[in-house]
Assembly symmetry: C2
Homo-oligomer: 287 residues x 2
């Protein structure tokens, strides 16, 4: 395959960005990759693993010569990083990202780019608990969903090239609006996180007759709270940047939770079966 881009500057060489770099280099889709990072230690790992050709902590230096900017830091750091790079970018640079919220990203970044640049919002739905350049792996995106959210400043050419890049990783690429993306992910990803974290937080100190309740949990408690171990900073950013959609998702859950509360309170046997069966059916469909 001919190279799609001459130079990609990867801002944040972590699990997602590093894994993309591995595939892009292997397939020859990108001629040169520059890694922009905050800590030298992680950049050293990225260089040693051959994820990037050059490492820098200076956004201006990272910007020079980049026809593709891949923002892969925590979402709320995108505007500051991009603003520092724009004056040094080639005038036709394509800016893209891997953030897990999209309306906020588009709204914050579109005003920052130059008049001939393009912005293509992307969310690869492929998170894991592991972090940093050391966690990057070649097949991370195989059969995963990658959602592209074209917006006012996305040119057809830039969208096409970004989609080819992601398809090459083995991902299933699809397109939707930033708003649809955020509403869907608020329900399928952000809501489970908040519910799991609330359950874990509620039980943290809970004691009965001097015994900690959580020590009596089995696999169910373990599974249901597993993702509560995720980064608090990352989830703070998601809550702040996808606030409206998350509030709607929380309200959706609250309605069903209150139905459960009500039928337990009233000891309604048939209604309990009906509610648990709704949950069972969702799981059958999830298979």
């Amino acid at each position: 395959m001919a190279a799609l881009f001459h130079q990609m500057t990867l801002c944040g060489v972590g699990l997602i960005g590093g894994s993309l770099a591995l595939t892009a280099r292997k397939l020859g889709l990108i001629e040169r990759i520059v890694g922009l990072g905050r800590t030298q230690a992680n950049l050293d790992v990225a260089m040693a693993r051959g994820l990037i050709d050059e490492a820098t902590r200076d956004p201006g230096q990272a910007a020079r010569g980049a026809d593709l900017v891949m923002l892969a830091t925590p979402v709320m750091a995108f505007p500051q990083t991009l603003a520092a790079m724009v004056p040094h970018l080639p005038e036709h640079a394509v800016v893209t990202d891997v953030g897990s919220v999209k309306e906020w990203v588009v709204r914050e970044l579109e005003p920052l780019i130059g008049p001939r640049m393009a912005l293509v919002g992307v969310h690869p739905v492929a998170g894991k608990e592991t972090v940093g350049a050391a966690a990057a792996e070649e097949n991370l995106f195989v059969n995963r969903r990658v959602i592209v959210t074209p917006s006012r400043r996305s040119t057809p050419d830039a969208v096409a090239k970004v989609e080819v890049l992601w398809r090459a990783t083995g991902a299933k690429v699809e397109t939707m609006t930033p708003a649809a993306h955020d509403a869907i992910l608020a329900r399928a990803s952000h809501l489970p996180q908040l519910v799991a974290s609330a359950l874990a937080a509620a039980l943290e100190h809970e004691q009965i007759e001097g015994k900690f309740a959580i020590e009596y949990g089995a696999g169910g408690l373990r599974d249901t709270t597993r993702i509560a171990a995720s980064s608090a900073e990352m989830w703070r950013d998601i809550c702040l940047t996808n606030r409206t959609a998350i509030l709607a998702a929380l309200k959706l859950f609250r309605g069903t939770f209150e139905e459960f509360e009500r039928v337990v309170e009233r000891a309604e046997a048939d209604e309990l079966i009906a509610l648990f069966e709704r949950g069972r059916r969702m799981r059958e469909r999830l298979k």
Copy 2:
């Protein structure tokens, strides 16, 4: 080890009862095991696997000669099963169970037993998704908690013998009151189930622009809702028989969930970090 009991009648030859039977026979703790069941097919499996010496669907026949009655059916079937057996039991029979609620069991069963019989409530915290005699396995209880809840009709001798039986399976046996058991399990087991089921039920039909939200969930959604696949009948029984403790646990969760809702609504960054960190700390302690 000398036999602890001459004949155990196992009411419900499923995962828990069948697994206990396997160990008890192997160690020679019980001379003879009679299986009482509803369906001949499951009893045939139990006979073929050597879990039991004799199979019957008649409670009266099952009761004859039993110095130990092990109730291992769904909890709400205990009273009817035991009532049908009591007239045919030896007068010093010990009645025990493996139900996942304890106050209700003790309250319902104590009035049913004969004046010289004893009741010892037990909950082996070792559930799995698999069911029936085919699912029984020898090491199911190794290092699992088994909670014994002595009550008014538990004699010291009966408690001691039941504890020896469970310790022989490799389980960690401990004692608490039925009320403490129910309060702890309401938090560590019943609450996660209701939260997972409510989350799954809330998302069942959820669509955004014609796309089903759950199809965009990753590992987090999958883990958080896994136990929603459990038996609706079993969880109806648990909700009905441990209602008061479960309502308290739901209220506990609701309080923390509402804190999350409030800080998202108000976009309070530091408070979001603090809440997510509470969840993270619980998970660290769960390790």
